[in-house]
Symmetry: C2
Subunit: 407 residues, 2 copies
């Protein structure tokens, strides 16, 4: 049928959600059924959940990323390397810095941003574990601090102090890597390990809020044994070029630190609000098909979407696991819409559990409802990491990028 | 003979000159003939002439150093890790931060310091290739600049500009390594190599003053082909946190640069002048036995000594080669003095030539009076480097630390 226009599907972001959508769509739809375009800032995908390793320097950043080309069938998906400026909902097009892309169906999978809760100086003076660029900057910043220490006649001990803001999932995983990395750094830069201080500041009354208290205790005492000092129930009031100012029970204290890494909190992508979607901290409360309310053609998944866990009437935390399941769901539903046959399926999150690593050889977690710690949990964590690769890129990607030092 | 006091020989510094003195003395003198003490700031020796590689990041800093213990016979030489505060010439003792050491014969082999010629801001804002600490700081500083570039929304291209002050031996050798390192850094940090600028500023009317013009031409055009830009006959007027201000023919120009490495000029050690020795830029014009004028018990060798090349009536430049020959001469003469028999020998420098490397695989030089370039010169350079190891630590040190990628 000459003149019949193929529907245009545009996917924004090649993270867990976006790549899952793209790889599932390229399988389910034929070349003649739709035009699929995937837009991403970089020509590579990175494993957000591995960035704490690249940041600490325990895993090279090239190990946490792979070219989008590796998993995309370019005969079916048009890949555009570009930066999204805004989404024109009325005009049904995406505005990139490099041009415009009209869509019939849009999948917004742009990922989250660091949430600084308006804390003064955090944006300017703290590092955050956000992407490959920021991860290797953290790695190099810490190395530079250590390298500089011995060049100074008057020693600045605070160069060797690293503050991690937040004892949530990312904060704890980063601390686990850091604790393993510090002895290596001390050897590399001829530094007495006793002079190094690693400090975790958490405003909540406990580390890893939401995790089983027994597991939290395991994690905290393991990290403490490795030299991490915790300040729980302590809020960062301000970040300065010299360190941080913390507050607890109306008392303020300055902690000097050469490195401050903010690892507490993710918000939705700023493009969401900039494009006029109604959102809470950048996250859109999507409908049962993961669509933005009032927009039958816009699906939002991953860190910028908000899905309520009915059991506890609170949002699911943004994870790779949920983003990937959302991607699968959206791919199915868009196929239904494109073909005009079948029925869309509601999204429901199948929580397989979560494992929080504590360095290469230890972890804590709940998997299929069971608590695990130690090497067993660490093994599970690597399986989880390899599974994400497998789901998106199949066995060949696991071979290329997988974690095989399993025990 | 009970009560006969053994003369105390104190050697300050475990560089080329100091280690040569110590290893030769431990061979020539018996345990009962003298007490030998070697004082050094670090418990390791480093190859000053390889620091440009560690600074560029082309050779790990652990490859350019080895423990002093490796080459010292501890039954004959007492090694003290300590920092010299001053030399008490009247009291015939060395004052360390950690205590005092009386001497009958003193060998000052403390090495040189960076000469900044009073240029404003150089001490504060420029790096210098001085020791292991400063070398790895330069390496990490450059890496941090490259790592930071991609994290910034507004790109600061000058982060990728590296200024090398001085086109003398060290400057040119550093540029050679840097030119090889830049493509690796660009790969590591996802940076377009065209954005990187490496600039060499030299006040003299030519690069490598004193070298054969044909060889200089070879070096400069090779480095230019690899992307280095030369500003010859251009003086650095000031160094600022943002870069440098240069002057040529009454014109001033600001060059913004994330990294400024000052590689132009060595002066004698500040301990020399602080201890009241008469000196020119920290260098003492020693007598024919390498003694400080008026001090029969103080030998000064290496970068803090000044020996005139009678042929051209100018001082020999400070090199590892001359320092090692001085160390040998001093060891012989101290043996003569300790034993009270034989005659002291005048020092005379036997110039075997010099090779200036241009990266791992190229070099220029004059060896035994013959000009060499290219792989042949590069091979010679590695032989020179290995020879220094051999002279001080014998074949086992060459095996441990030698450069074997000879072709």
């Amino acid at each position: 049928m000459i003149g019949l226009r193929k529907p245009k599907i545009v996917i924004l972001g090649a993270g867990y959600g976006g790549l899952m959508t793209a790889t599932r769509l390229q399988k389910s739809l034929g070349v003649n059924e739709a035009d699929i375009t995937l837009v991403n800032k970089n020509d590579y995908h990175y494993e957000t959940t591995w960035l704490h390793e690249a940041s600490a320097g325990t895993l090279h950043h090239d190990r946490v990323r792979y070219p989008v080309e590796n998993v995309i069938d370019r005969s079916k998906v048009n890949f555009v390397k570009g930066t999204v400026a805004s989404i024109d909902r009325e005009g049904k097009k995406v505005v990139l810095e490099e041009g415009e892309y009209p869509y019939d169906y849009l999948v917004v999978a742009l990922g989250g941003e660091s949430e600084t809760f308006g804390i003064k100086g955090l944006k300017e003076y703290a590092y955050s574990i956000t992407n490959v660029n920021s991860a290797r900057q953290i790695r190099e910043h810490i190395e530079y601090q250590f390298a500089t220490y011995n060049t100074e006649e008057e020693k600045h001990e605070d160069r060797l102090t690293i503050v991690v803001g937040g004892a949530g999932f990312t904060g704890i995983e980063f601390l686990g890597e850091l604790a393993n990395r510090i002895p290596e750094l001390c050897k590399e830069y001829d530094i007495d390990q006793n002079k190094v201080q690693v400090l975790c500041v958490e405003a909540a009354p406990s580390a890893l809020p939401g995790f089983d208290p027994e597991l939290v205790e395991y994690a905290v005492s393991l990290l403490e044994r490795k030299g991490v000092e915790f300040r729980i129930g302590t809020a960062i009031k301000e970040c300065t070029p010299e360190g941080i100012i913390v507050g607890k029970d109306d008392q303020e204290e300055e902690i000097k630190a050469g490195t401050v890494v903010w690892a507490a909190g993710v918000r939705g992508n700023s493009i969401i609000e900039a494009s006029g979607f109604e959102a809470m901290r950048g996250r859109v409360k999507v409908d049962q098909f993961l669509r933005a309310p009032g927009h039958d053609d816009v699906f939002i998944i991953g860190d910028s979407s908000l899905v309520i866990n009915e059991e506890i009437n609170r949002p699911y935390p943004p994870t790779a696991q949920i983003a990937m399941q959302q991607g699968e769901n959206v791919a199915k539903n868009i196929s239904v819409l494109v073909r005009g046959q079948g029925e869309m399926q509601d999204f429901s999150f199948d929580n397989k559990g979560s494992v929080c690593s504590l360095g290469e050889d230890d972890a804590i977690g709940v998997v299929f409802g069971k608590k695990v710690v130690g090497t067993k949990a660490s093994f599970m964590k690597k399986m989880v990491d390899n599974r994400a690769l497998f789901m998106i890129g199949g066995p060949s990607l696991v071979m290329k990028k997988g974690k095989f030092k399993l025990l």
